[in-house]
Every structure is written in C-alpha cells, then in structure tokens.
C-alpha cells in the first residue's frame, strides 16, 4: 500500500448521503468541508423543521432521523459551511461559493457531489398561477413549515411523492380533492410486490394507501392536469385521461401540487465535465458512476440521488460506501478493509436497488405528456416562451436543446432550464424523432443561480480594476 494521502475532501450537499459521507470521511482522518445551502444539515427529506412545524406536524421518522444526523455531524470534526452555495467551479475543481460572508473560493480538493435531486415539472395551460406548486415544494411547506398549500388540494403528477404529499395534506387537516396519477394502476401493484424486499417502505406505503382510501379520495390513473383556471376562490382544474383524451374531469380546489418524479441535479457534474448518460427508465441524465460513486474524473465522486434517483435508504448506504472508497483510493485503508467495511451496506444496497429501480418508471410515467402540450401553454416560465414558439423553432431546424435555447431563449432565465428542460426535450424528440441523447441538455453556465452583482464586485476603487491592454486601434 502506498503512503496514505490525507489531502482535503469537500462534500457538496448536507443531505443524508452527503452528511453520512462527510462523517465517515472525517472518521478516516480526512479534513472534510461540508457545504450546504440550507441553514442546517438534512437535505430534502431530513430537512430541519421550523419551530412551528415541530408543534403542528405529528412526530415522524424524518424529524427524528434528521435530528440524529444533525447531532452526529455536530459531534464530528467536519468543517460545516451552511447557508452557502456553490455557484461555479474551475477545471481543477476550485469551488466558487457564496455564503453569509459574501463570495469565497475553496481551493482544489477531492469533491464529493451529493446535491441530490431536482423535481421534474411538466407544464399545462395556466400552470404559472401561484396556487400551483411542485410536489416537493408542497412537501417542504407542510413538513417543514407546518402550513398547507390550501385547505383543498388536488395532488397530481407521478411517483411515490404523490401519495406522500396527499397523506401530508390529510395529516395537517386539509382535504385532498383528487389524486391524479400519470402512472398505470397495475404499475403500483407490481411495485407493491417488490416492496416485500423493503419492509420499511412497504409499511409506510400501506399506511398511506389505507388512509387515502378511507378518506374516499378519487384517484385517476393514466391521467394528468391539462388546464388550470383561476377563479375568485381558487382553481378549476381540468383532468384529462391519457388514453381517452375526450374524457375530462373538472375539480375545484384552493391549490394544486404537481410534480413528475425526480431527476439528479447535474449542474455541477456537467460543469466538471464528467461523463453522463441518459437513463431510459428514469427518463433523465445522470453522471456515469460505479457502485461506489467514482466518476470519469479521479478527483470527483457522486453519491446519493445525485448519482441516480434511488431514495433515502440507498442514499445513506451510498454515502457510506463512497467515503470508504475514497479512503481506499487514497491508500488510507486496504482493499480488504474496504471489503469488510462495506460488506453489509453493499448487501443491503443490492436488495434496495431492485426496489428503487422499480420506482423509476413510476416517476417517469408522464414522459409522453409534453407531446400533448397546447400551443398557447408557457413552457419556459422565466422567459415566457410558449409551446408554439418552440414548435416553430423546431420546424425551422432546431434539432437539439441548445439550438432551441439559442433561438427562443427557452432555458436562458434564472432557473437555467430546471423547469422547462424536460418538456422542451419531449417536444424535440417527438417532433424530430431524435433520441434524448441527441436532443442533449442545456449547457450548464456559471453562475448556477443569480448572484447579487455587488457580491461579485465587493468594495473597490477604479484603480483596483486591472484593465487589460487596449484593443487594437
């Protein structure tokens, strides 16, 4: 074994995967910095609840699990930087940060990307009203804020979050008007059979489904919200059946929560230039990783849902395994020690992976929806680009997402296409017959989110500006 290399490791993201990894890395003796945009660790699922939510939301596994993780992290020597975001990075993995103290840089280090998932959203006529939120957003509002998005809510989209959010609405005393699922009913039965491999998930799912059934909530499968109209008191939502577009159902509700599954957050990994691939089951782009999170760059690892959506239990195991793999790669532990340390987690991982992969088609059940987009529907909210504009650009010869972006501004706004990329890609592949790989992704650009200009400039005098030599006469 060569002499161990204890140079610093930076973990981006303090969710279950990132925090677990950071703690394990520090136990191996690495100096670890953990960066997270929230004021406390926990990520999406273990997000620290507000004091109000602690009073209003019944005690649950996410609160207790999150508290335990936060305590463990606080007791570790990990250098934590909360309320801090990565807005850019260099080819050598210098990280550009913005935090409470303004702009900062972290010198090159080995980076573990654990920045989790982004919700996939698919637009429909009228979706930009503030009464419509994402499923993930609604969940944060309820779980961590203790607040309902409305007294009456239509929950729509695909994947397990659908039922979780519906359950949370009931838990806070709200009414779920209808559940609109893009997936097939039989998909859920198939998943149910698989869940015997994951008893924790099975128990939870059974509990949710029984409660939803008892409440007598109408559930539409193979359906989606096709239009929303604002009224004085709330929304009128039109639900269309995918296989029988003429069959429509109209519901009145104060709010709607809608989301079409999760996808890995790839801005950082794409900027770092690691290899990615399209996962057809999940319908998303993911970095190419081995089972321990190694990528095509030796100084960059990806762990947790950022490496492909597998859920919370897998995220913890992945975070742990990635930390041990780094210890092995750096010569801190032997291959044999790695095998011993990871034997149990790897076995658990294999079992849970099978269930998690089964979830992917359920989350991706809405993949055909963009082809039915009405011309007047806004696809890119930031730049207010309508489906008709995208279709005419595709007709004029735009064959990939970046050409479409260049010609229409779709995806050029503050969100960098997080909201519109999936539907723009759906329109492209449907119209040109090209594959999702050929349609590509919007090029990731710095800063990853808008930065206050004064944070970049700081305090300065004119003479501080290093003016380059004059342009030719």
């Amino acid at each position: 074994m060569s002499s161990p290399d204890f140079s610093p490791v930076t973990v981006i993201g303090g969710g279950i995967a990132g925090a677990t990894s950071a703690i394990a890395l520090s136990r191996h003796g690495f100096p670890v910095t953990l960066i997270d945009e929230q004021p406390a660790a926990g990520g999406q699922i273990f997000r620290a609840p507000s004091p109000y939510a602690r009073q209003t939301v019944p005690p649950n596994h996410e609160f207790s699990g999150g508290d335990a993780l936060r305590q463990k992290l606080a007791a570790s020597p990990v250098d934590v930087r909360f309320s801090t975001r990565v807005w850019g990075l260099s080819s050598t993995l210098t990280l550009d940060l913005i935090g409470p103290g303004g702009i900062d840089q972290l010198p090159p280090s080995t980076v573990v990307v654990a920045n989790g998932a982004t919700e996939r959203f698919l637009p429909f006529q009228g979706w930009t009203t503030p009464r419509i939120t994402g499923l993930a957003g609604a969940s944060i509002l309820m779980r961590n804020g203790g607040t309902l998005p409305g007294q009456t809510v239509v929950v729509a989209g695909s994947g397990p979050l659908l039922f979780s959010v519906a359950h949370q609405v009931l838990e806070l005393g709200g009414k779920v008007v209808a559940i609109v699922d893009a997936g097939h009913r039989s998909d859920w039965f198939r998943l149910g059979a698989m869940l015997s491999l994951d008893p924790a998930r099975l128990t939870q799912a059974t509990r949710w489904m029984l409660r939803l059934r008892k409440a007598g909530i109408p559930i539409h499968h193979r359906a989606h919200i096709s239009a929303a109209q604002e009224t004085e008191t709330g929304l009128l939502l039109t639900v269309s059946e995918m296989d029988h577009p003429e069959r429509r159902h109209v519901y009145a509700a104060e709010a709607a929560a809608c989301g079409y599954g999760l996808k890995p957050t790839t801005l950082i990994t794409r900027t770092a230039g690691v290899q990615h691939r399209h996962d057809p089951a999940g319908g998303y782009l993911e970095p190419v990783t081995d089972a321990a999170g190694r990528t095509s760059r030796p100084d960059l690892y990806v762990t947790g849902d950022a490496a492909g959506i597998r859920g919370m239990a897998v995220a913890r195991l992945r975070g742990l395994i990635t930390a041990h793999a780094i210890a092995q790669d750096r010569g801190v532990i032997s291959a044999r020690t790695y095998e011993t340390l990871t034997r149990a987690p790897r076995r658990q991982l294999r079992r849970l992976e099978a269930v998690s992969r089964q979830m992917l088609p359920l989350m991706n059940a809405g993949s055909a929806i963009p082809t039915h987009l009405q011309n007047e529907t806004i696809v890119c909210r930031c730049e207010r680009v309508k489906a008709a504009t995208l279709r005419s650009a595709i007709e004029a010869g735009a064959e990939d997402l970046n050409q479409l972006k260049a010609w229409t501004r779709c995806g050029m706004g503050p969100c960098q296409g997080r909201m519109c990329e999936d539907s723009a890609r759906g329109l492209l592949t449907a119209a040109c017959g090209n594959t999702p790989e050929e349609a590509g992704s919007f090029t990731a650009r710095m800063p990853f989110f808008p930065l206050p200009l004064t944070a970049v400039t700081g305090t300065f005098a004119y003479s501080d500006i290093p003016l380059p030599k004059a342009a030719p006469l």
Binding site: G397, A398, E399, P414, M446, P450, L453, I465, P468, L473
Partner: protein, 384 residues
C-alpha cells in the same frame, strides 16, 4: 437546376464551411445570385461567435480602417427585414466611450480622431454633455466620445432568422458535420469530407468562414497564417428597470455595456476566459469576471441593484495584423476565405455580401484584406 445536378445531389457551385454571420450571408447572396450552395458547420448554425457575442453595433470599438464597412454592416442589420426577410430586433442607439483618467482621456481623443478621419461621426463631449445623453453614467468621467451611429442586436434572434432565409433561398444546410478534409478534386473544385456523410460534398469552389478554426483549414490549403483565438467573456444580468439607453464603452475598448428591451444588461468588452478550441470547453476566470463587472458597475453605478444571471465565453479570431482575411486564396478563383474581422458582428453581413459579390463576378475593393499577404501557399499543402 440542371438535370445533371439533380442526379448528383452532393455537387454544388459553392460549398461554404462555417455557418456564422459571414458564411451564412455569403451563402444567402450566392444562392440569390443563382448558385447552388451548401453551408456546412461543425455544430448547429450560429452557435459559435455569431450566436454568443454581445450584439454590439459599434464604431468606437471597430478598427478604424473598418469604419466604412461597419457603417454599412450596421445599416444592413437595421434593415434586416428587407434583405434577410425578418426584423432581427436591431436597435439604433447613441454610443458613448468614456475616459475616467488622464491617460484614458488622451487615448479617447486619439481613438476618436482616427475614427473621425475614417468617416465615423464621433465627437468628444464634456462630462456634462455625456450625462445629458446618458443619465445612467458615472458623473466622475473626464470626457466621452459620442457617436450617433451605434446600437445593438439581441444576438439570439439572428440564427433562426438566417436559417429561415437560407432555406427559402434554397441553400443546403449541413449541420453537426465537422469537416475532416478538404482536397482538390480531379477535374477541378474541391471535395469536402464531413463526418456525417459517406460521400464528400463537392464544390466547384469553396469558401472558408470558420472563424477561430480558420488556421487549421487554411493550413490544409497550404497557407500558414497564425490566427490568435480570443476567448471573450460575456455577462448578463437579470432584468432591471431601465438604467441606461445607449451603448457604453471605455476608452481602451475593454467594456461594452447595453440594456436590452427586456431589461437585462449585457456586459462585455473582451475580458478573457480560458479554453482551447481544439479540445473544446471554456471556463470563466473569476478574476476577470470580477474586473469586468467592477468596470461595468463603475461606469453605470445603478448596476449595484443587478443580479448576475449568466456568464459565458465566445471565441473571436484575430490575424497577426488584426485585419480581416477576405478574398481569393487561389489564382483559379476557386477557394476563398472570409473572417477575422474585428468587431465582426457589426460589419459581418456587409463583409459576407462583398465576398458574394466578388464570387459572382463583381469587383469590390478587398485589397486591404488580401489573405495572401501573410504567406504564399506551400507547393503542396499537407492534407490532414
């Protein structure tokens, strides 16, 4: 179209390599002049410099010798509805170049003088007058050069407009097709081998308009001209209430600043990023981002309310004498080049039209841009 051409779809009167402003304009006017034209690009059209530049129409930053061309190019942009078929949104505004130090003021006066001599309506005005023209500027300035003939274009609208015009004119567009070799064909003309096609695309003549990639391709034809590749940084802000109404720059030319109709402010000026055109990929140098944005904020103090939305980099090519390459490469008049035009977006459409005119048998004065001025071709050019 002759029956012979119909049965041999890969034979063209002219094959143009490089689908930016220069190449696409040449293609458009050649096709309208009756030629069968193919336009080839390594990626999609207008995705390199022509699609990502700052969209500045400027006589302040254009090289003094190119002022007459820039004036004509600017007129073409403002008149795009007539010759391109749609209005690309070019806007005529005043342009101010500013000096904040004594040295800058001297440079400002010198640059204004040589431009006046070349026909640019530029005059040096007092700080008070500058603030009257553009209330958004920092009143700490010492002097400003004022030009009535500046303006800007939302660059993103240009590519789509050209695509529609070229298709209508019957140009064959071959995108996402890096050119692998260009070889003289037996019986005249050139075979252009592209990655996407089994058979080469044959042109009775070729035009190279590949910007930063010209050096390599000129090498294939036996010309050894070192071409410098600039990696220019652009910064755009989120939309803001109106903070300025003109195109602003500073005396040494290293700032371009404008606010578009949608409220976003574009900050450019040629601050450098890092990158390699052969390996691909470009990256922002944080120090240069800070410098560029500080300069912008100093010139328009109200930018302190702005949010930086995006930073990107575009490639600009430059010859050793910073003058363009436009004209014939061979005595047989079957290979041409157009490119390396400083502030090329402003004069680009005019330069492309001039080359088309030249190929169609006209005799525009291109003597200052003769591509053979740097080197004479080697007896047999290497072909790889």
């Amino acid at each position: 179209m002759t029956p012979a051409l119909q049965t041999r779809p890969d034979v063209f009167d002219t094959v143009i390599v490089g689908a930016g402003v220069m190449g696409a304009t040449t293609a458009l006017f050649l096709a309208r002049g009756g030629q069968k034209v193919a336009l080839v690009d390594r990626q999609d059209m207008f995705r390199a410099a022509s699609g990502v530049n700052a969209g500045t129409l400027t006589l302040h930053m254009t090289r003094a010798q190119l002022i007459p061309h820039a004036i004509r190019g600017r007129e073409m942009w403002l008149d795009s509805a007539n010759w391109l078929g749609e209005d690309v949104g070019a806007l005529a505004t005043p342009g101010l170049s500013m000096a904040f130090t004594e040295a800058e003021e001297e440079l400002l006066r010198q640059r204004a003088r040589v431009r006046q001599d070349m026909g640019a309506p530029i005059e040096v005005v007092s700080p008070k007058e500058a603030v009257r023209i553009e209330p958004g500027v920092n009143p700490a300035l010492r002097a400003a050069a004022y030009c009535a003939l500046d303006g800007h274009i939302p660059t993103y609208r240009v590519g789509g407009a050209y695509a529609r015009a070229l298709r209508q004119a019957g140009v064959t567009i071959i995108e996402n097709s890096p050119v692998e070799t260009i070889t003289p064909a037996t019986g005249g003309g050139y075979d252009v081998r592209v990655s996407s096609r089994a058979r080469p695309v044959h042109g009775r003549r070729i035009v190279l308009s590949t910007g930063a990639w010209l050096e390599k391709m000129l090498g294939w034809l036996g010309y050894n001209i070192p071409i410098r590749c600039l990696i220019n940084q652009l910064v755009v802000t989120e939309t803001l209430p109106p903070v300025m109404g003109s195109v602003l720059s500073i005396a040494n030319g290293l700032l371009s600043l404008k606010q578009f109709a949608n409220g976003s402010v574009l900050i450019g000026g040629g601050w450098q990023g890092e990158g390699n055109i052969h390996q691909g990929g470009t990256r922002v140098i944080p120090e240069n981002l800070r410098g560029n944005v500080r300069l912008a904020q100093y010139v328009v103090p109200r930018l302190d309310e702005a949010q930086v939305l995006r930073v990107w980099l575009g490639l600009e090519s430059e010859t050793p004498d910073a003058m363009p390459l436009i004209g014939a490469l061979t005595p047989d008049d079957d290979a041409f080049v157009v490119g390396c035009v400083h502030s090329g977006f402003t004069s680009g459409p005019y330069m492309g039209r001039l080359l088309a005119e030249r190929i169609l048998g006209g005799n525009p004065d291109l003597s200052a841009f003769d591509p053979t001025r740097f080197s004479t071709p080697a007896a047999t050019g290497p072909q790889s």
